[in-house]
Symmetry: C2
DNA sequence: TTAATCGGCGATTAACTTAGTCTTCGATTG
DNA sequence: CAATCGAAGACTAAGTTAATCGCCGATTAA
């Protein structure tokens, strides 16, 4: 039970897109190479991000991706939902309906499940936290954690390799 | 990305163990039959619950399982952890260490990952909620939600089939 | 004491999911 | 028009999950 690597790939990549001017873009190839990720797979991840309206694509030579909204309006949860889909972590199989009581008297079994409700509300607590952290927040966080040199090198890498 | 059905099976079964007197027990066969679950699989689920100290097993004929602590001291999270193991939902692959900067200068890359920390803290919010809901809480909740008839029938089923 | 009933455990299987690849396509640039 | 990009679907290999099977040791009732 865990999130797919796509989420991790996406979040790491999106940070690099923050500083890209809105008339420019970064190609999948660059992003993949810089981070040592499989290019074709990353391409699929960005397809999902694109469908979710988080990034927009620029086709053709010199094409690539850029953020399609302000980094303040992109939360961790937006990214996870884009990659993982809308399904909750806990999916009730409604096992009550296979049970003895249900077989004995069909209409007595309740159609909703208390256990499921508990799970959904717990997940909601997690999502709330994830919704409160935006891409721009992450960017500032990284500024205070990473050395100036690393951040400089990163920006240099993407600016020179896409002009 | 979702919890295994084992968690659902376990929670549903544990409710039925609450009213079992401490010198008695309920067999896997009964629990499985009552809920229409595969017996052999449920047996493995209870193996994990047993290892986690949530239930204790009574071997031999007329054997079965009973709670090994008070239902107030068994939380939803205890059950999930017993079945799913200790691993967090988001597992960082540390993709930074495959990247260009790391290859360029090994010692500059940070060994911890901000994204991972955010994920872990969000999960912790969910776990806190899950830790606050105990088996006895669930039992009371079910009392107020389910009809008296259903609860009565359930108790009757397990008391008569194990004597 | 012996047969039947229970949990414990490991090997196995079938279905499904995931990470990743390959290939074809259409759009863009030079 | 050719090279380079993203889009998309088919495909594959590996891993996971749900479930089964068989064998064991413990226990109990006849």
């Amino acid at each position: 039970m865990q999130y797919s690597v796509g989420v991790e790939y996406a979040l790491h990549c999106l940070v690099y897109l923050i500083d890209v001017p809105s008339n420019d873009s970064i190609g999948i190839k660059n992003l993949a190479e810089f981070q040592g990720l499989p290019e074709t797979f990353l391409s699929k991840v960005f397809g999902k991000l694109s469908k979710a309206g988080i990034v927009s694509s620029v086709p053709g030579v010199k094409g690539g991706y850029r953020l399609s909204k302000s980094p303040e309006d992109i939360s961790f949860w937006d990214v996870i939902e884009a990659i993982e889909g809308p399904n909750p972590i806990f999916q009730c199989k409604n096992i009550k309906e296979n049970g003895y009581l249900y077989r004995k008297n069909c209409c007595q079994a309740p159609s909703f499940c208390t256990i499921n409700l508990v799970m959904l509300s717990a997940e909601e607590k997690m999502r709330d936290d994830l919704r409160s952290k935006s891409l721009s927040w992450l960017n500032e966080e990284l500024d205070s954690v990473l050395s100036k040199q690393i951040r400089e090198d990163t920006r240099k890498y993407f600016s020179k390799s896409n002009t």
